[in-house]
Chain length 138, copies 3
């Protein structure tokens, strides 16, 4: 059985937001109990991340790591028309990925105890992001 | 319903090539309208990337970023028998991934307006690369 | 058809371990011949990697690359309560991914000749890691 739907997330600018609750809500609608769930972000300057959900400092450290790796305004980049944070956003997106598949068990995302799924906005300004959910299971 | 096929891409050496057209052609053959599409590169020195499809400078900036992160001939690497671009190719492949799953909707890959799927050749010389497509849907 | 199971891997600390044999054994149990196999690590400081399976020096070079990119004890990180290798482990996990989907063909993982699937332990001490396998196919 296949079930497909989507939702939008309004981000306040750079940073990561938990989205497991929204995904589990779609799973409940689908009636699927066991299978796989493809989460997909339809953009190239926002991405998905599985990350520790206990200490929020882990995510701010990851943010800081990315800022060191590909700083805003990095003179390496030629594509600057969309602002100093645009190419760094594409780099971050490329490194973390726009597609994430998680197992589904007992009707919800079967994550580890400390795992959360986050939508990671990489642009510094607020954006509306489309996330789709495709379920395959029974 | 499951549908599986593969195709090859002849790359002229390092750089990224759009492959969405080839994938959508396989999707049309399959008759699948809604589901998920696993794209898989059967190599460890080429990979897949979702990237902006508007300004090609974005992709050359990403190339430049990778070259800074893991330069050819980097003295860090011990595995040098296959040439100075081989370990950097493995690093790039590891960071971007050989497997990519995208949602299928209306019989084609359901990407964002600015998203393209690219096969990224990381070796400096020309190669023939095998890409498989596995579809699950209805 | 959906088949789901899991197994554990006892790691001796940092380093990568081949797990294709364990996955192919689960595939044989499932009776699935063609489809896709989602491998998922239920942790945020261990991850999955597709990598060359010929020269083990490739994997030690990748280890060395990660150590340069996010060294243990890096003063960039604020989250240090779990030890100097914890944030670097989260960085490595974020960059390489906890979920990997591979095609299934002829009843086994359809990898390239030189591709292996590895569980990558990023913590320096020994850990027991849960890996789940979700198969969708026929």
């Amino acid at each position: 059985m296949i079930f497909q739907t989507c939702f939008t997330v309004d981000t306040p600018g750079r940073g990561s937001l938990p989205i497991v609750r929204q995904i589990n809500a779609r799973l409940a609608e689908s009636g699927i109990s066991t299978g796989m769930c493809l989460i997909f972000v339809h953009h190239t300057s926002a991405s998905l991340m599985l990350c520790e959900n206990a200490d929020p400092e882990v995510r701010s450290d990851l943010e800081r790591f990315m800022q060191r790796l590909a700083p805003d305004g990095d003179p390496l980049f030629h594509h600057v028309d969309e602002g100093p944070d645009d190419m760094p956003a594409h780099v971050r997106s490329m490194l973390t990925g726009n597609a994430l598949t998680v197992p589904v068990s007992g009707g919800h995302c079967d994550l580890g105890v400390w795992q959360g799924v986050y939508l990671w906005e990489h642009r510094t300004s607020a954006h509306r992001r489309k996330v789709s959910v495709t379920l395959c299971g029974e």
